[in-house]
Point group: C2
Chain length 319, copies 2
């Protein structure tokens, strides 16, 4: 098939598609588009385009801009970044638990006493609540396994996640906020949808343990940022580790930068070099499935706002 990669063609992806017999073309001639930009970069799709392959798992930017037209089919990059996001999430968990931000910000040995008595260790019988327990959550559970953590999973349906002690549907953690109080670590990996926007607010934070650590590697909009700043300032919870936040980019001087109990990475658990390395192979698999008249591996329903089909049930269950 003929494809266009926009707004910027990545050689590794183009060459993977060409090796599989596809042909790079102009947008006007393309049968499918590989899109690796943000909402404002999205083109008007000519009639010849049958489907769009995105370079990211999250497509909320396109959805919010009203660009998820149902005139074409859609596939995202779900599953491609499970390894890197799960690793980045574990890093933030350990970094928040061991208070790296505090010690780095102070640059003085006098923080040792605080660290000694307030840092937490994952291996010490911790309960981790994974909200949006899909493919990345399962990978995170593999990384947590040698620490012996208990996992409480939350997904859209409440269908039991293998390896989790309990699984709750998203609806239930909204209606029974005391459930948040069971966790030592609350890890957000959910996509941003109408149901999940602002999920973690002052009320939910108030139900968490005072020693709890909130980790967000899902989407910034899952958390009410002002409420989180207040909770971290006032010791409602012990700390946070954020790879995503609202707004992004987080402006210089934003209160989150100054909080010693809030470790931040700038949306980099899923990096461009990793995308470049991995997207080509997925794009080839999806093109092959499309050409065969099948559902693509990471095809999603643009109206429902979540993955309609997935090889791995867990992706479907995440949200």
């Amino acid at each position: 098939m003929r494809f266009a990669m926009l707004p910027k063609a990545w050689p590794a992806v183009v060459s993977a598609l060409e090796s599989a017999g596809h042909e790079q073309a102009s947008l006007e001639e393309a049968e499918f588009v590989v899109f690796n930009g943000d909402g404002p970069d999205f083109p008007d799709l000519p009639a010849g385009v049958k489907y769009v392959q995105t370079a990211t798992a999250g497509v909320d930017g396109l959805r919010e801009a009203g660009l998820l037209s149902d005139r074409v089919r859609w596939a995202n990059a779900a599953g491609l970044y499970s390894d890197s996001v799960a690793e980045g999430t574990l890093g933030l968990m350990l970094g928040a638990a061991h208070m790296y931000k505090l010690v780095t910000a102070r640059a003085s040995w006098d923080v040792a006493k605080k660290i000694q008595y307030e840092s937490q260790f994952l291996y010490e019988d911790k309960t981790v609540m994974i909200v949006g327990a899909g493919g990345i959550g399962l990978r995170l559970m593999e990384l947590l396994e040698p620490f012996g953590c208990e996992v409480i999973a939350v997904n859209k349906s409440g269908r039991a996640v293998p390896g989790a002690r309990e699984t709750y549907p998203m609806e239930q953690v909204r209606s029974e906020p005391e459930l948040w109080g069971r966790a030592d670590f609350v890890v957000l990996l959910a996509p941003l949808t109408e149901e999940t926007r602002g999920l973690v607010d002052a009320d939910v934070l108030g139900h968490m343990k005072q020693t709890a650590l909130l980790i967000n590697a899902g989407r910034g909009g899952l958390v009410n940022t002002d409420d989180l700043v207040d909770a971290l300032r006032e010791g409602v919870i012990a700390g946070a580790g954020l790879d995503v936040m609202e707004p992004e980019p987080l402006p210089d001087g934003h209160p989150l930068w100054g909080l010693e109990n809030c470790l931040i990475t700038p949306h980099t658990t899923n990096t461009i070099p990793i995308m470049k390395k991995r997207l080509g192979a997925l794009a080839v698999r999806n093109a092959e499935l499309f050409a065969a008249g099948e559902r693509m591996e990471t095809e999603f329903d643009p109206e429902a706002g979540y993955y309609a089909y997935s090889r791995r049930r867990c992706h479907e269950e995440a949200i």
Copy 2:
């Protein structure tokens, strides 16, 4: 038996020993001493004291102060902190690889690009060289297992460490410094002895990969600090994560604090709360073995400077 705990009796330890039938006494009347201080706190031992149980695994402070008298027997706290030190080590590995110090020090989103292109992920076929691969190293290997890292182990004897791809004796990495160039992560967990002091110097650093990350959770004296500062400044290696360093406490204003590629924790992978929780049970087991005329679980030879006997071969092999 009668015991004294010095310089500060920890209730959890005293009560564990009392529950096992031992009796807290003055130093003059004690048959064994549980010592939880630094060299300068160490008392003159009355003739009635038969052995000393230390609260730490490392005893180099006592050795250097000439206090490891062979008039009594000695047991340390090896193995007690494998969980916490291994976890702290993994945290530093991830924190150094994902550049937490840089992003925290800058407090600005503009570091995202650097992080994107220079951060490293453990899951991406990394080779980890563990120098001093004893009990903590084995625990670290468990934590690394789901990342799929290859491990090169270094211990005193060169006896193969289970799970490591290769094992080298300490002597060989001294005589063949090019071996250091095989690792993406060099993790130091060795005790400080005459053989290991200053092990990592400018020459060794120069043989490492330019992308290598050096992690030290063993003893500060294993590394020549000035050489490390130069190597980090000049990009000879990519970064470091240090729980131990020389000198300790690291003075305010020391160059290591200012290096954006050097993540520091203030010797807190093994914390006092963890010691308090765990030392009691070990002290009871050792007292029982001593009373039965056997070698204690963590008994070490004060002259050789390493564990003479150990239930777990790995402790013996570490050094």
